[in-house]
């Protein structure tokens, strides 16, 4: 029982980060039907910002907003340079464009800083734990969960209460109709990328604090988690993305602690296998979004 509770807390911490990543992926998918394989690069950029500023002796309190800011700016920049040119293209083109962006960004870092993994200082409190009864809770997980909840509340308010949020949700539901109703596609798409960058930036801060290092290929794993979580939740559903992130995080933690030792190292493989099974039996993901095709 204690172990299960412990797992749940650990899983929620991990799942919160995945949820933020998945939500960023889903927001962009909603307005552009683009599954952004370059989403993880927003964290890579933030990672080098952290490396250089921390290296210059700046504290995490200053570096944190800089990481978030760099993710937002990078997100807007890749929209302007690449994605704005392929709006309305086929899924195939959109997917490979984002794959290309992923490689170009990591290649730029390869050129400047080489493939090596560079460490930086983690905040001292990341590894601290405190006890509640029999449970050992990490300060880090607590902070992650609290910040994620606050971020989700903020995002929900943004989506529910503002004109921009309304436009974004309308565009996600039916982009063409939204445009006819006067939603400006440029504004809403750029807004979506900014929001996506913001969410990736917040997730990135936590990701980097835990990792304590950066390399040009560091964005691959967070990208994969975000994309998979969005898919588990049901592509196009913002609520589904959050649920998908939490489910993925919990599944990873639970499996790692429950699988027999001999295959514990294959946890990720088992998780993928479960996802594949999910798609065989429930191909539309956990949260159903009806894509009505007019015929």
């Amino acid at each position: 029982m204690t172990e299960l509770a412990q797992n749940l807390i650990d899983g929620l911490g991990r799942g919160s980060i995945y949820a933020l990543l998945a939500l960023g992926v889903a927001v962009v998918f909603g307005v552009m039907h683009l599954l952004n394989f370059a989403h993880g690069e927003l964290i890579t950029v933030g990672g080098y910002v952290a490396l250089w500023t921390l290296g210059a002796g700046w504290s995490w309190y200053i570096v944190t907003p800089l990481i978030v800011l760099s993710a937002v700016l990078t997100s807007l920049a890749i929209e302007r340079v690449a994605f704005s040119r392929v709006r309305g293209s086929s899924d195939f083109t959109l997917l490979l464009t984002s794959f290309g962006v992923h490689f170009v960004i990591s290649a730029i870092f390869l050129l400047y800083v080489s493939a090596s993994v560079k460490p930086f200082d983690r905040p001292s409190w990341v590894t601290n734990t405190y006890s509640v009864g029999p449970l050992n809770i990490e300060v880090y997980d607590t902070v992650v969960i609290v910040v994620t909840v606050l971020t989700l509340i903020g995002t929900t308010l943004l989506l529910q209460r503002t004109m921009f949020g309304l436009s974004l949700r309308a565009a996600a539901a039916d982009f063409d109709t939204a445009r006819l109703m006067g939603v400006r596609s440029d504004t809403v798409i750029r807004g979506a990328f900014a929001l996506s960058g913001l969410l990736a930036g917040i997730a990135g801060v936590f990701w980097l604090m835990r990792a304590g290092s950066i390399s040009p290929s560091a964005g691959i794993t967070p990208m994969l988690k975000g994309v998979l979580a969005a898919l588990i939740g049901g592509l196009g559903s913002l609520r589904g993305a959050v649920i998908g992130g939490l489910v993925l995080g919990l599944a990873e933690v639970l499996l790692r602690s429950r699988l027999p030792d001999s295959i514990a190292s294959l946890t990720e493989g088992v998780v993928f296998l479960l996802i594949a099974l999910l798609f065989i039996f429930r191909p539309q993901g956990l949260v159903t979004v009806k894509h009505a095709v007019r015929v």
Binding site: F99, V227, E268, G269, F279, P283, H291
Partner: protein, 628 residues
């Protein structure tokens, strides 16, 4: 009629041989100038070509982007290595290999066969998930599953050292035991070319392309995309397995990172730069990217000089030049996607071009021109035993909106029935239900004795209900003739009997002069007529036409009425035609159903319906009010 040996087999095979010869000659000439240093480069290029061709079979024909093929390659590569490496070598790397694999040793050819078997088996399972999610949430979901597959294989390879030798050691052939002859590579490349090209020309390949162009339209004419896509996947994975085994064999070793992200990027870049929809394009892409990457590599080392044009690397000293190759690949992929997403060649094929060149000299004879008498070859005889189309009590809800509320109708063979009603009355929804595209909450429909209420679209089409779409769904990238022939192929398989000839239908639709144009280039009226001809090519029992004259002038409409009646009579089909234009419907129909707010409010001959006060109230209400 199918397959045509010259067009579908002879020319493609000859074309592949020619491509192979040119490709190889290019490599050998380069080698003769550059000496032994270039040998490895050419060998690697040949093997890359096999793998890229394998990927092309799936990605090109189905239009689904796959990141997973290199993952399949990893499975094949490890399977090959485990079976082909001698037990003594395995004892050093994987002494605790599971399943008693330590003592197994097969000769390389057999090991390749095992690798194909294992990988195709995995692909079969993955393929089911791919097909199901693809059908439900579109190609994007399928792509993410392939990406997940790539990561699973990599993760398993890294973390199962008992089988794979893990991340550091890997599996290695004994020194000198690796592949040292190019002959197997040549044979496999030629084979891969022929397999890829023949698959594209095959029935499966063409139907997969139809589903790629328009999934819904393909299903509406009896194609089951899941079957064709799975066929493409299995053949594609088999070719990739051969290429991957060769890659391991030639390399003499395998590590998890050999078949991961970077190689996926490389092979996909090769495929899309040349043109993913074409076998010729795939090969051109391999050549172009190999050259480009070699130049980037040399620029990274010490600059290069080609034909007097040199680039000095010195100004680049401040960056990590060895990574220029990756930059080049990423930029090539991004650039092509943004500026020329169909690649260098689009869907240009060497053998098709040669075929057209060869046949330009002898022009085809036009079938009997459009006349009162239908041209020879138009008539169809598919037994349908006077089966009536009947539907009843159909209820459909969209969210809170009840689109159909107990509607029904019946159409007798050889009858032309009109379905009319104001916008939003539920006309299209009724046809969507009858063609299996919208699931009704209640109700039933059948063709003769056959209950079709819960059947999937493609089975309904095979049973003989063929539709056209309000907003035109043609296979845009295919020619007029290919559009019609494709339907003929499905008919030949699933509708026993005599079918109308494609050329006769094209003549009848007045499209003979544009028969080799692509569907996307047609004007609006021609596109409408092509959709009609395509549906008629299935020798349908009933044609369901959704607003066949929308957007046409009166003169064009009248011409279309004549064509519909003529063509339906010739292929012996009943007709259900939808429109909201009363003049058009009364002009074409023997009998009319009037639909309003999801219910049938009147049935009868055109005169009866026009005289019905309920119809005048509901449908002509506004008009009659102003007249009185």
């Amino acid at each position: 009629m199918f397959p045509r040996p010259g067009r579908d087999v002879g020319f493609p095979v000859a074309g592949c041989a020619l491509l192979f010869a040119v490709f190889l000659a290019g490599g050998l000439i380069y080698e003769s100038f550059q000496g032994r240093a270039a040998e490895r480069l050419v060998t690697v290029m040949l093997i890359d070509a096999i793998i890229v061709l394998g990927i092309q079979i799936y990605v090109g024909n189905t239009g689904v982007l796959s990141f997973g093929h290199i993952g399949f390659g990893a499975i094949a590569g490890y399977a090959f290595a485990v079976f082909a490496i001698s037990p003594e070598e395995k004892l050093k790397r994987i002494p605790d290999a599971p399943f008693g694999l330590n003592d197994v040793l097969l000769n390389p050819a057999l090991a390749v066969a095992v690798a194909i078997g294992v990988t195709v088996l995995v692909a079969l399972v993955v393929g089911i998930g791919l097909a199901r999610s693809g059908a439900e949430s579109g190609a994007v979901a399928a792509t993410v599953i392939t990406l997940a597959l790539l990561f699973v294989t990599h993760e398993v390879a890294r973390n199962w050292p008992d089988l794979t030798g893990g991340n550091r050691a890997g599996l290695t052939f004994k020194v000198g035991a690796a592949l040292d002859s190019r002959l197997p590579i040549y044979l496999c490349l030629l084979g891969a070319l022929i397999v890829a090209r023949l698959f594209a020309q095959s029935r499966s390949g063409k139907l997969a392309v139809a589903a790629r162009e328009d999934n819904l339209a393909a299903r509406a004419m009896g194609v089951n995309p899941l079957v064709q896509q799975t066929a493409a996947l299995l053949i594609s994975v088999a070719v990739v397995s051969v290429g991957s085994s060769l890659r391991v064999y030639e390399n003499g070793s395998i590590l998890p990172d050999d078949f991961f992200f970077n190689y996926t990027l490389l092979t996909l870049a090769m495929l899309i730069v040349g043109g993913r929809n074409s076998v010729t394009g795939a090969l051109v892409g391999v050549a172009v990217m190999t050259i480009g990457r070699e130049l980037a590599r040399r620029l990274g080392q010490d600059g290069f000089e080609v034909f007097g044009l040199g680039l000095d690397a010195a100004p680049l000293d401040w960056i990590f030049r060895e990574n220029l190759q990756t930059v080049f690949l990423g930029l090539a992929m991004l650039g092509f996607m943004i500026f020329r997403s169909e690649g260098l060649l689009g869907d240009w094929e060497l053998d098709s071009w040669l075929w057209r060149l060869w046949h330009r000299r002898k022009p085809e004879t036009q079938p009997e021109p459009l006349a009162e008498v239908a041209p020879v070859g138009l008539h169809a005889e598919v037994p349908h035993e006077g089966a009536a189309l009947e539907a009843g009590d159909i209820v459909v809800d969209f969210g809170g909106f009840r689109a159909l509320d107990g509607a029904g109708l019946s159409v007798a063979p050889d009858e032309v029935v009109g379905l009319i009603g104001p916008n939003g009355a539920g006309k299209t929804t009724l046809v969507n239900v009858i063609t299996g595209m919208v699931e009704p909450a209640e109700g039933w429909f059948r063709l003769g004795e056959r209950e079709l209420t819960a059947a999937p679209s493609h089975e309904i089409a095979r049973a003989g209900l063929l539709r056209t779409f309000q907003n035109l769904r043609l296979f845009d990238a295919l020619t007029v003739r290919q559009n019609v022939e494709l339907a003929g192929r499905v008919a030949a398989r699933h509708r026993p009997g005599r079918h109308p000839q494609a050329d006769a239908l094209i003549g009848e639709a007045g499209l003979w002069d544009v028969r080799d144009r692509r569907a996307r280039e047609l004007d609006y009226g021609s596109a409408r007529r092509l959709e009609l001809a395509r549906a008629a090519a299935m020798a349908p029992t009933y044609l369901l036409l959704d607003e066949p004259t929308s957007g046409m002038s009166d003169a064009e409409s009248n011409e279309m009425i004549r064509r519909i009646r003529h063509m339906a009579a010739a292929v012996d089909a009943g007709v259900l035609v939808i429109d909201h234009d009363l003049n058009f419907i009364t002009g074409i129909s023997d009998r009319i159903y009037v639909l309003d707010q999801g219910q049938v409010i009147s049935v009868g001959t055109p005169d009866e319906v026009q005289a019905d006060p309920a119809v005048r109230a509901a449908y002509l209400g506004a008009e009659s009010d102003t007249q009185t």
